[in-house]
Amino acid sequence: MLQLKKLALTAIAGLFVANSVAAAELTVYTAVEAEDLKRYAEEFNKAHPDIKINWVRDSTGIITAKLLAEKNNPQADVIWGLAATSLLLMKSEGMLEPYAPKGVENLDKKFIDKSTPPTWTGMDAWVASVCFNTVEAEKLGLKAPKTWKDLTKPEYKGHVIMPNPNSSGTGFLDVSSWLQMFGEEGGWQYMDALHENIARYTHSGSKPCKLAAAGEIPIGVSFAFRGAKSKADGAPLEIIVPEEGVGWDMEATAIVAGTDNLDAAKTLVDWSITKEANEMYNTGYAVVAYPGVAKPVKFFPDNLLEKMIDNDFEFAANNRKAILEEWQKRYDSKSEAKS
């Protein structure tokens, strides 16, 4: 009997010890690639072993939908690694807790929310690019396009594929960048011409590049990160950065308003903008928020940083609905883009 009691006591004590190791648990929503998540948590726990991260990961669209659906009953403590355009939506719903992380002044201004205190901080940029399959292009006698405008040439008819902005964040950043670069009217004119050449619109942003890599369609409008990965896998790809400039979005971090673990959430966000964290982001992304950290990433085009447009996120967020409606009216009602 006595022994049993002792056993129970040790067990209870054991529970307490175990608990004190992970003092706080954070539910973190993210759209970061699955293969990177484990590494992110490990690096963070090196500095803060007392905070345990429970990831909830999905693609950008689904995580955004999930967060908005849970608006009145948030499940997340922190959002770490979601498109800034999505975070702006949450911000306008009052779902984010304004907080200036320690050392935020070290970051590139482009990567910080303009409010004071900021509601989100950027991690890395996610830049549009064109994936070009050299083997298939040679078979078809296609030259590599140099500019966005090149893609509207008749020779590329049916050989270009891009994501549907209505379902893909990458698709939307392309459309919003064209509208910003070529102006409202010029942007739509450009897309009218491009539409003639598009084989079809995909649901996801990485699929055009994967399809280009597989030779299904030789030219895929996608993003640089995906192109570099496919190239590393052995696909005969050239990653083209169109000369006019390229749209981009960033992965960003924010605290969800109303979290029970505000202190732990702040600790995580503080760490997420440190130099170490940015070095960690750099393994996959060529452009990160902390100036001077980024080392070139294999297979990434060199001129990417200078070609990034001065993206107006507020414009993109506030006009998103109108742009998508217009897009849908113009291009989605055609049953099938004939190739």
């Binding site: 293969e35 693609s59 689904i62 306008s92 399809l211 696909a235 049953s335």
Partner: protein
């Protein structure tokens, strides 16, 4: 003793018995399971319907301004935004209706507005709950805010929520959305006609010829039921895509679009049509054929006057089942639909792509319509079905006919090649390193853990979901069916239950899934805790596949005479003893059938669970979808084939177990 004729079967026992403890308990059970269906089916649907009518509108009467002169001085005049708009008509009425994400710029209310001008503006809401954005900052309340012109152009008004029909008006005035209805109907009708014809010919060949390998053909025809509906889409891309193995076969047409959807639909609906038509053909009466021969009717005439009328109810049933499956399927058009919009994909695009839950609910309501109509018509037809097989019928036995048998064999071989080919292509694609550039074999595509979709864990989750669904689903369904079938009187309760049990058949999985978000993710719902867990996936899957399981159970129970209950009660045995000692063992084959049906469907379903899974509960079928979506087509094929093998293995185990159990529990059937 009353004499019963087939036309006037008594609905109730002639003598009304006093309610005993058993009856009360059974009624209690009915109510509990009915309550389960109300919570998991009726309430979520209601939540979804109310979402479809929840509209968002800009309300200009909520906003007031003050405008300064060039030097920045205000004279205190307060302008109402609504009044300004009435004067200028700057923002037309139809732009006031919007979605939950709507934003309205206010500068059109000031025709001479320029962002360079030195004029200052003050803005405030008239009530506390007005929300507008300055840039992306959310502002609410009735305090005046002063901004310069350049900031003023960054101010946008947010909508207020109300109830009405404006979502439907928006839907029907958006051509691209409206077109989906046409597309969905067109694809479903074409697929239905083709599938039912093919399946009929196949079933006809199997039941009316003496060809060889009938068993093999039957097995192959059932195979598509074991894979997710999007798998044929992936195979078709490998076959007829631009880098496809047989791309010349498309003769310049694109497989992405109607061709692909119809071909894939034929593949995945074939077994459903085949089962129903086989049953219909099996009950033909040889005497009718003898009569036809003695009347010197040509085989052609016999076919149209004997075979087809005998099978017509089966054909109609099969047509409706196929139609419903195609119009509500979402995986296949998503994979191979290209720009061809279909209703089920629209729901996904609205909810996942644009976070427009209200419009998703509207499309769901639209999608419910055809499914509901098809369902209602089918029910009517079923009622008309009378017993063709009377005690005096003679079972039709085909006679060998070399020419006819050879034709049948060739036809069945072609269909079998199509089915096996689709599966084979997927397996082949899964083992190729990098199609079409590196054709060496590798297992690289099975390294699911480095891809989107949840990895091997998702596969484990799927098996878990399958087992849990099979276990709990079978218990709920069978007990429910037993109570409904064997309870005496209590018509209202039984009627309600019967209706609830038939309803899931008419509800597309997508719609059910969306309804579950609205219902279970409501913070005021005490069941909120199950949101994001395995439990909600199990519940939604059981509900989604409730009807067929219920019908299977009822059919088995109907075979048992009500006398059992009478004997048990005269021996003073409580019903649960009878239930466990007699009913369950006798119905064991049906119970196992329900379990395997639920397991297989839980493994392959995409539509109902796509909105409900969370990171910890990612599923293999969803992983197929997500990997394909991300462009990892070969791994998607690999995962799809894993589902196939798992289901095939489950079927084999089911067969073995059934055999063993049949030996023990069904010995009484043999004399």
């Amino acid at each position: 003793m009353s004499v019963t004729t087939p036309d006037s079967l008594p609905n109730e026992r002639p003598v009304k018995l006093k309610l005993g403890r058993d009856d009360l308990m059974m009624r209690g059970f009915i109510l509990v399971i009915a309550l389960y269906l109300i919570i998991t089916l009726a309430f979520p649907l209601y939540a979804m319907l109310s979402k479809a009518f929840s509209t968002f509108q800009f309300d200009l009467s909520q906003i007031e301004f003050q405008v300064s002169d060039e030097s920045g001085k205000f004279d205190g005049t307060i302008l109402s935004a609504a009044a300004l708009n009435e004067q200028l008509n700057a923002i037309p009425e139809d732009e006031m209706a919007t979605s939950s994400d709507g934003r309205l710029s206010l500068t059109p209310l000031f025709p001479d507005f320029s962002f360079r001008s030195p004029v200052l503006y003050k803005i405030r809401g008239t009530t506390e709950d007005v929300v507008y954005l300055i840039g992306s900052d959310r502002v609410s309340g009735t305090d005046w805010r002063e901004v310069d012109s350049n900031t003023f152009r960054r101010i946008v008004l947010r909508p207020v929520q109300s109830f009405g029909l404006s979502n439907f008006t928006t839907y029907f005035s958006t051509p691209s959305l409206f077109r989906s209805i046409e597309n969905s109907l067109f694809i479903s009708i074409v697929s239905t006609i083709v599938t039912v014809s093919l399946a009929f010919a196949f079933a006809y060949a199997l039941s009316r010829s003496c060809m060889r390998l009938k068993g093999v053909f039957r097995l192959i025809a059932m195979a598509p039921i074991l894979v997710p509906s999007l798998l044929p889409g992936i195979a078709l891309v490998y076959l007829f895509g631009i880098q496809g193995m047989l791309k010349e076969g498309m003769m310049g047409e694109s497989i992405y679009g109607p061709y692909g959807i119809v071909l894939g639909s034929i593949f995945f609906t074939f077994p459903h049509a085949f089962i129903i038509i086989t049953t219909a053909l099996a009950i033909s009466d040889a005497r009718l054929y003898e009569a036809a021969v003695s009347l010197r009717a040509s085989p052609w005439k016999t076919f149209w006057t004997v075979t087809i009328p005998g099978a017509r109810y089966g054909l109609i049933s099969a047509a409706f089942v196929v139609f419903n499956l195609v119009i509500t399927d979402f995986g296949l058009p998503k994979v191979i639909g290209g720009q061809y919009n279909m209703l089920a994909v629209d729901i996904y695009k609205q909810v996942i792509g644009q976070q427009n839950f209200e419009m998703g609910a509207v499309v769901s309501v639209v999608l419910l319509m055809p499914a509901f109509i098809a369902f209602a018509v089918d029910r009517q037809v079923q009622k008309k079905q009378v017993a063709l097989l009377s005690a005096r019928s003679v079972v039709f036995e085909p006679n060998p006919d070399r020419k006819f048998d050879r034709i049948c064999f060739t036809y069945c071989s072609l269909v079998a090649i199509f089915i096996v080919g689709i599966l084979g292509v997927c397996q082949f694609a899964a083992l190729i390193k990098f199609w079409p550039y590196d054709l060496s074999l590798s297992l690289k595509n099975y390294n699911f853990d480095v891809m989107d979709g949840g990895g091997w864990e998702a596969y484990g989750n799927s098996i878990k979901l399958g087992l849990l669904t099979a276990f709990f689903g079978t218990i709920v369904v069978f007990i429910g069916a037993y109570m409904v079938d064997k309870t005496r009187s209590f018509r209202a309760g039984r009627g309600l239950f019967q209706f609830l049990a038939m309803l899931p058949m008419a509800i597309p999985g997508m719609v059910l899934g969306l309804a579950y978000i609205f219902f279970f993710n409501d913070p005021n719902n005490p069941l909120n805790a199950i949101y994001g867990t395995m439990a909600i996936l199990v519940i939604v899957t059981i509900t989604h596949f409730y009807t067929v399981s219920h019908l299977t159970a009822v059919t088995a129970l109907k075979q048992m005479d009500g006398e059992f209950e009478s004997v048990a009660s005269s021996l003073k045995q409580p019903f649960y003893k009878l239930f466990t000692r007699v009913t369950v063992p006798v119905c064991m084959p049906a119970i196992l059938d329900i379990a395997i049906y639920l397991f297989v469907n839980a493994m392959t379903t995409v539509s109902a669970v796509v909105f409900l899974y969370s990171t910890d509960t990612a599923l293999a079928s969803i992983a197929v979808l997500n990997m394909d979506d991300a462009g990892d087509v070969a791994p998607a094929a690999a995962m799809g084939m894993m589902i196939f093998y798992t289901n095939a293995a489950a079927r084999i185990i089911h067969l073995a177990v059934s055999k063993g159990i049949l030996k023990r529990t069904q010995a009484w059937r043999l004399r």
